[in-house]
Amino acid sequence: MLPQRLKKAVTDNPKKVASLIDIVNLPTMLRDFMGQSQSSQLSCFKRVWGYIKDNNLQDPVNRNVVNCDPKLKSILLGKSTIDLTELPPMIKLHFPKQPGS
């Protein structure tokens, strides 16, 4: 019984899945950060989160908050601190819905 549910959860919404894994042309500021001109939303998120971890940008007192360094700042609307809760919607901003897709 469980496998059925599992399958459903992943393929629930093909459009949503596509929006996460479709490779699109990145806006200029993201290109500098990612070092590549094309990427998907999912791998972009993973890259940013990996960057935060690698550079120890999480606030030592409240690990839910990230203190952005200049490079990170440039892609997160220039904010100096950001809550981890905000991260996925922030990334999503760079991947606007494509008309007609």
Binding site: R5, V10, K16, L20, K46, P88, P89
Partner: protein
């Protein structure tokens, strides 16, 4: 029965080892049971000539010159064979060696070319005389071409067999039927089985039940029924296994009324329902969470003096736990032990699941301790069930402890427990930890990245909303 995976069957049907062991054609029955006994070493050797992209070829250790046919080109294959025969003085005499060469070529070529190649081998190297397996290789190839619409290729091979002194027998029927079903040509398989039945090679019970099970699974119950009816004309009637297959199918489609009807039919035909039949029906009720009916089946078993096996008890405990009758389920854990069956991880996991549903997550955790004391090691499903139960039961701290332990032991997370753990962590504002769980889920390849990410995303979205409404701090 035909529960053996195709890979094994292939070994049984084609492996020269079985030829050596049981002079010439082994009956299908032996073939069915043989696979696990095939000596490993020899199989390796014989497989070294198999198709280059075969699953088992990682195990291939070449001891004899190997034949890897990369091109489907007939003349290339011929010259490769010629050079081998002329270069060696002591070419193996047993047909199995040449059969595997043929098999290797047939995996890349067309049926027609395979036949030409076989003729060529016989001509170039007269000591080799093709046996039944040689022709079954061709038959299998002819049946395995998925895009072919008619059975003419298959008929060609069958005619060739008859002309070479090997008229199709039960094994041929079995090989053909399985190969056809394998590549989705169920209708052709039915047609061929019927046709061969008229030519005195009736399918045996294994082939017959394989067909029924395949039709029920891939086509429809009605197609299976019409096959059963047609086969009655040849004097083949459904047996207990056939009925079990049908009952299993209707149980999976939640049609328990039909299952009970089949049970009656089965008794009328003079079969005595065995443990498997009852287990199947019990499973049907268990999935519908009808605890009372699960118990009913158990009582009926006892009335009919069918001895329950440990699967019966596992199903019983699963069904009762699922329908919220944990007390009864616990009672049967006792009964089970008294009857001499050792409860396994499945038994305990079902029970834990029931306890967690009742909100007794800590009790389930205690059961984990008991289980380990009794020497039964939990599996990943056990841990996931517990993790989900603990997180749902607001025992997050225990849940996190369990998660840390799972992480240490590299136990994968399941979608359900992953999502629940994320939500529980976020509810308490432990977003950073939720991110770490996300990392672990991806790193351990527990669930697809997309699923892991979209769960994280939606959980955070929910958290934001809840915060705005002042529900969560």
């Amino acid at each position: 029965m035909g529960r053996i995976p195709q890979a094994f069957r292939k070994v049984a049907a084609q492996s020269p080892v079985s030829t050596l062991l049981k002079a010439k054609t082994s009956s299908v029955l032996q073939e069915e049971k043989a696979p696990p006994l095939v000596p490993h070493l020899q199989r390796k050797k014989n497989f070294s000539q198999k198709k280059p992209f075969a699953k088992n070829d990682s195990a291939a250790k070449t001891t004899v010159p190997s034949f890897f046919f990369e091109s489907a080109n007939l003349s290339d294959a011929k010259s490769l064979f010629n050079s081998f025969i002329s270069s060696t003085t002591d070419a193996p005499s047993e047909p199995s060696f040449y059969n595997s060469i043929l098999q290797s070529f047939s995996s890349v070529s067309s049926v027609q070319d395979s036949i030409f190649f076989l003729n060529h081998m016989v001509k170039q190297h007269p000591p080799f005389c093709p046996n039944r397996f040689t022709y079954h290789t061709l038959l299998k190839q002819a049946c395995s071409s998925a895009d072919e619409q008619s059975l003419s290729g298959v008929h060609n091979v069958l005619n060739l067999m008859t002309n070479s002194g090997f008229p199709p027998n039960q094994v041929s029927t079995d090989v053909a039927a399985r190969a056809l079903c394998e590549c989705g040509r169920e209708e052709d398989a039915v047609e061929l089985v019927k046709e061969l039945s008229t030519k005195n090679s009736l399918p045996d019970t294994y082939t017959y039940n394989f067909m029924v099970r395949h039709l029920v699974k891939k086509r429809s119950v009605s197609s299976a029924n019409s096959f059963i009816n047609d086969m009655k004309d040849f004097g083949i009637n459904p047996d207990l296994v056939t009925y079990t297959i049908m009952i299993d199918n209707v149980c999976n489609t939640k049609n328990l009324r039909e299952a009970m009807r089949l049970l009656r039919v089965l008794s009328e035909k003079g079969f005595k329902p065995d443990c498997y039949v009852y287990n199947t029906i019990m499973k049907g009720y268990a999935h519908l969470s009808q605890g009372g009916d699960v118990l009913g089946v158990y009582k009926r078993m006892l009335d009919e003096e069918v001895v329950p096996d440990h699967i019966t008890y596992n199903t019983l405990i699963f069904g009762l736990s699922k329908s919220g009758r944990v007390k009864d389920a616990k009672k049967f854990l006792q009964v089970m032990t008294e009857k001499g069956h050792t409860p396994d991880a499945i038994t305990y996991t079902s029970l834990m699941n029931g306890m967690c549903r009742e909100g007794d997550a800590l009790g389930a955790l205690a059961l984990l301790g008991e289980m380990e004391r009794k020497g039964c090691s939990p599996n990943s499903c056990t841990y996931n069930t517990l993790l989900l139960g603990l997180c749902k039961g607001r025992q997050l701290n225990e849940g996190v402890k369990l998660y840390e332990m799972m992480k240490k032991c590299d136990i994968k997370l399941e979608t359900g427990s992953y999502g629940t753990l994320l939500r529980a962590l976020c509810r308490q504002g432990r977003v950073a930890e939720a991110y770490e769980v996300f990392d672990y889920a991806i790193e351990s390849k527990s669930i697809p990245d997309i699923a892991a990410y979209s769960t994280l995303e939606s959980t955070l979205k929910w958290l934001k909303k809840a915060r705005e409404q002042g529900l969560v701090v």
